[in-house]
Structure formats: structure tokens, C-alpha cells
């Protein structure tokens, strides 16, 4: 197992190089002028051909491929990611500002995904082919078929349009005033936590109120998928010989299911769940757009619409790096859960 871990860690830089190279190649499909636009604050400066030429040389945009790549990579490594027209800030500043917003949303969404998906998956498998199983499966299939943006719009319509309970956005304007200008200390930039740390319950509740609809939307496709995988894995496990052994010992059915079976069944599920959580980054774009939640996803979607290339490329870089490292962590943690791998 150790050799496997070492191999995975050694492969990491290679994968990262491959990923960055791919991104750079896509970036290079744009003309030098378009690429230049990602670095300047005011697009009017480019109208001056002399200035444009100078800048092109400065950013190595007309150089042959490999050199251009290395240069670009260097720049990225120093977090010089260019200027975002949509955000009207440098890309790195915009990321810093919006990252905690998305993080808060994702962290809270993990809870329903894992709890509901796995819990229902186990129930579904235990009641295999019962009415309960069929009902759960149909719900899951519908969940599978309902695109997240339509589901999100539906939630928005019902819970905001009709009922007025969960408004879009991150905070109501009165709360925003306090958080951004008043006596509010932002320790973590996760508003719910900060509100509790500041002892401000009304803001905590307001933030929560704005989070519920996006959380429901973001988690929903994920838990439907997780449910199917858990169900499948449990069905497999319940057929194994050691389950029969446990029953032959007189172990009660609850313990058989939740101790003997579940622990085995959840091993493959855990790694997939990990990868899915990382994959939620894709879903974040849609959810934040539907609820105008001012995080990374919303900004990314906007910049794509407005052809703000710099932002889009930086986004690709950011998310793919998170994904690569995240996948590695998930892979390595597999070793911790499964004693057969751990003790080889």
C-alpha cells in the first residue's frame, strides 16, 4: 500500500502539469489581442496599437508555444491572474472575496447529501423490491432526471415567489449593512459562523434563511446519485457469506445491517462520495446563478456570458487544481477505511 501511495503522490505534479498545459492550450485558441485583454484593467488602452504591441511583448503572448506556457505558468504561480472585467477587481482579489461564500454553501450541502443519500440507500436495499424500495427508487430516478437548474427554479418559485420564505442572495440588505460596515468582525468569512462568534443571532438566522434554498438545490442531485450507489453496494454486501455467518450466530437483524453489512458496503461509497463532493463545484455555478448567490460560481457564469476570458481561465485552473488534490486525498483516505488495504 505504501508503494501505491508514493506512486499517487509522485504522479501529482505530472497530472498538474498536464492539466495546466491543457488549460493553456485552450487559452491559446484565442488571439493574442483577446488574451491581452485579460491582463489590462481598461480595455481602451488596447486601442493604441503601440501600447498593444508593447504589452503583447511584455506578456510573451506572441512567443512560441513552450515558452509562452512556461511564462504563463510562472505568472500563475505568482497569483498574477489578470483582471476581471465582470468583477472590476483583479482576479486574485475576486477569488479571495468569493471563495468563502461558496465554501459556506458547499460545506452545509455536504450534510444532506451524505445523510439522506446514504440513509435512504441503506433503507432501500434492506427493503429490496418492497413498496418502500420502489418509492425511494422512483424518487431517485426523478431526481436524476430533473436538471438542477429546473429544480432550483422550482424551489425559487415555490419558496420565494409564492411563499416568500427563502429569498435569493446571501443576506438581506439590513444584515449586509452590519456585516460589511458595522461592528462585525469577520473571523472566518463564513457568515453563519461569524454571526455566532459575534453573538449576533438575527444575522445568523438571516444568513441561514438565504442558505436553505441553495442548499436544497445543490445537494439534491448528489444525494440521488449517492442513494443509488449505496443501495447497489448494500445489496451486494447483504449477499455475502459473512452476513450469513453473523445471522447464524444469532445476531439480531439491526446489528447485521448496521454493523456487519453497512461497514463493508460503505467503503466504496465513501470514496465516491468524496469525489462527488469535490464535483459539486460544477453544480455550484448553476445553483448560485439561480439564487444570485454571490460566490465563485455566480461570478464564473457571469464572466463566461460576458466573455471575460481571464476569469474563465483562472476558474478552470482553480477548480481543476482543487479537484486533483481533492481526488488524491480521497484516494489516500481509502487506505484508512479499509483494513485490508491499510495492513498490507
Amino acid at each position: 500500500m505504501l508503494s501505491y501511495m508514493i506512486r499517487r503522490i509522485l504522479l501529482l505534479p505530472i497530472i498538474l502539469i498536464g492539466v495546466t498545459f491543457l488549460i493553456f492550450s485552450v487559452f491559446s485558441l484565442l488571439s493574442p489581442m483577446e488574451r491581452l485583454a485579460t491582463y489590462v484593467r481598461d480595455p481602451n488602452t488596447l486601442k493604441n496599437p503601440k501600447a498593444a504591441e508593447r504589452l503583447i511583448a511584455k506578456y510573451h503572448l506572441d512567443e512560441p508555444y513552450p515558452l509562452g506556457y512556461i511564462n504563463w505558468l510562472e505568472r500563475m504561480a505568482h497569483f498574477d491572474l489578470g483582471w476581471s472585467q465582470t468583477a472590476n477587481q483583479s482576479v486574485s482579489d475576486a477569488i479571495k472575496q468569493r471563495f468563502p461564500v461558496t465554501l459556506e454553501l458547499v460545506l452545509y450541502s455536504i450534510i444532506p447529501v451524505v445523510l439522506i443519500g446514504i440513509w435512504l440507500g441503506v433503507i432501500s436495499a434492506v427493503h429490496h423490491n418492497d413498496m418502500i424500495d420502489q418509492a425511494i427508487r422512483v424518487t431517485a430516478i426523478i431526481g436524476w432526471s430533473l436538471p438542477s437548474f429546473i429544480f432550483g427554479l422550482l424551489i425559487l418559485f415555490i419558496f420565494y415567489g409564492m411563499l416568500g420564505w427563502f429569498p435569493p442572495g446571501r443576506l438581506s440588505s439590513w444584515a449586509q449593512d452590519i456585516v460589511y460596515t458595522g461592528n462585525f468582525v469577520s473571523y472566518t468569512h463564513l457568515i453563519t459562523i461569524d454571526a455566532l462568534l459575534n453573538g449576533n443571532i438575527p444575522i445568523f438566522l438571516d444568513a441561514l434563511r438565504h442558505l436553505i434554498a441553495p442548499i436544497i438545490t445543490l445537494s439534491y442531485i448528489s444525494w440521488a446519485f449517492l442513494l443509488r450507489i449505496t443501495r447497489s453496494s448494500m445489496l451486494d454486501t447483504l449477499r455475502k457469506d459473512y452476513i450469513r455467518t453473523a445471522r447464524a450466530k444469532g445476531v439480531d437483524e439491526q446489528t447485521v445491517i448496521h454493523l456487519h453489512a453497512k461497514r463493508n458496503a460503505l467503503i466504496p461509497v465513501a470514496t465516491i462520495a468524496g469525489m462527488m463532493i469535490i464535483g459539486m463545484m460544477g453544480g455550484v455555478m448553476i445553483t448560485e446563478t439561480v439564487f444570485t448567490y454571490p460566490g465563485l460560481g455566480f461570478w464564473a457564469a457571469q464572466s463566461a456570458q460576458q466573455l471575460d476570458y481571464g476569469t474563465v481561465i483562472s476558474f478552470a485552473l482553480l477548480f481543476s487544481t482543487i479537484m486533483v488534490i481533492g481526488n488524491l486525498v480521497v484516494d489516500l483516505s481509502y487506505a484508512l477505511i479499509d483494513p485490508r488495504v491499510r495492513l498490507e
Binding site: L11, I14, I15, G18, V19, L22, I23, V26, F27, L29, L30, R137, V138, I141, I142, W144, S145, L146, P147, S148, F149, I150, L153, L156, F157, Y160, G161, M162, L235, D236, R239, I278, G279, M281, G282, G283, M285, I286, T289, V290, A300, A301, A304, Q305, L307, Y309, V312, I313, F315, A316, F319, S320, M323, V324, N327
Partner: protein
Amino acid sequence: MNRILKKLFSNVTSLVGIILLAFFIVIAVFAPVITPPLSDDHYQIPRMSWDVNPQPPGSPMSDNMKQAYEFMEKEVKWKKAICGTAEGGYDIFYGLIWGTRTAFKIGIITVTISMLIGIILGSISAYFGGWIDEVLMRITDIFLSFPFLVAAMVLTTVLGRGLDKVMIALISFGWMGYARLIRGSILSTKEETYVMAAKALGVNDTKIIWKHLLPNTIFPVMVQGSMNIGSMVIMAAALSFLGVGAPVGYADWGQMVSFARNWIIGSPGNAGQYWYAVFYPGIFIVLFVLSWNLIGDTLRDILDPRLRGEL
């Protein structure tokens, strides 16, 4: 094969799926008859008026529009917008009918091509092994490092709007699953005795892959592919929703929903005012994808030997 078909038809879930799918096939085939196109670009949704606000179902064509069509010497076969109009006066009904063709196009083309790419790369990788396998698998890993929607979005931004660009984006990041699937299958089949026998007889590699390995391993990949048709359509719709997919006025369900964000809340006091703008395209997307998923889910259960009650 016959047993599988029989089972598909007898199971309630898949039967519903098949009926739905048949419904869509009929619409797609008879699109030019149901809603004859007005221009050479069949997928350009005709407008019923210049209104920015969506108009409710049953709205007649506006007078300026009628005059405009007369001026362009175009003959319009219908007088009312049966399902209403979307933002900008685009006829929703037309979009639904021709959008069916778009959906099939997207689903079938992207899945077929990405499956082809995946199968070729996966089988080469598995069969030859060694450093070829290593390199191809690392490339697959690299492509897998991008969240699908993010990657597709980046590509469509750089390449521009348009359905073909959307399909390129979907294909570029959709082949990896098939590659891995068939690689796994071939790796296990490769060690079977009949393959070794063929090799010992000196049969050349391509023939072995073609005649012995592929026919035995390709079936689960194809099943997976047919189940992915639905998700490809959803992805394309999501891209349109985010504003980077099909251009405005194109007969694509996702594109029609993309305006919906603005109109879903309706006007104050009348929350459901513009329900039709979202409902119609939305329900078509859901039912289309549902039909594939119902069939696919049942197919998976049928092909799973454990669940057949075998001893």
C-alpha cells in the same frame, strides 16, 4: 436479446419510459409537418411579436409582426402562440417541437462520438499495456480533473456560442468514462484462454481486438452510453441556461429556459404569471431525460444476474 426486450416491455417503469420515448420520436420525425419552418434555418424560432415580456398561451400574432412577415414574403401557417411566447416574442410551441430534434441530435451525436473515442483509446490502452497504457491513462486522468460543467463552459466561452461548439465541448470531456469501462473489461477478457489461443496461432493484433475482445466487452459500454443520452441533454441545457450554449432564438429547450430566471417570480402579487415560459420547455426536458433514465435503470437491473433470483 429477445428476452431483454420482453422484460423491458413487461416492467412498468421501463414501459412508461418506452412510451415517452416513442412520443418524442414521433414529434421529432414529424416536426416539419407540425410546425413548418419559416426560413432556411429550421432551428430559428419565429417570433410572434416584438414584446420583451413573455406572452401567455393563446396570444395571437401581433399586427406589426404580421406586416413584417408579409413584407418578407413569408407565409405563416399559424395565427396563435399555443404555448405562449418567450422573452422577445419567440413562439414557445415551435421551440418545443424543433427542440425535440435538437435534443435527439445532441444526445445521440455526443454519446456516439465520445463513446467511439473512449472505446478506441480504452481498448488500445488495455490491449497493448505497458507505457502506452500508462500514458493514455494519465491523459484520461488529466481530462478527468476538470468538473464537467466547468470544462464545457470554458470551451464554449473560448470557442463561441452555437450548438456545434456545445457538442464539441461535451464530447471533449465525455469520453473518459467509456475508455475506463472498456479498458477494465478488456483487461479481464484479455487473459481468457481463447484470446491466448488466438495469439498463439499468430492472429494479428487488430483482428484480435476486433473479432475477439470487442464483441464480448462492448455491450456494457453501449448500455452505459444509452443511459448517458439523457445527461448529455441536461448538460447542454445547463450550458444554455448559464448563457453559453445555444444562441438566442435557437430551438433548444435549455435556451428557452435560460430566460426563465428573470420571469419565474412573475410580477408582484402574481407569482405564476409567466409560468408557461418555464413550464413547457422544462417539462419537455424532464420527460425526455426521464424516459431514457427509466429505460436505462430497468435495463441495468435486467442485466444484473444477481437480481434475477438465480440460485
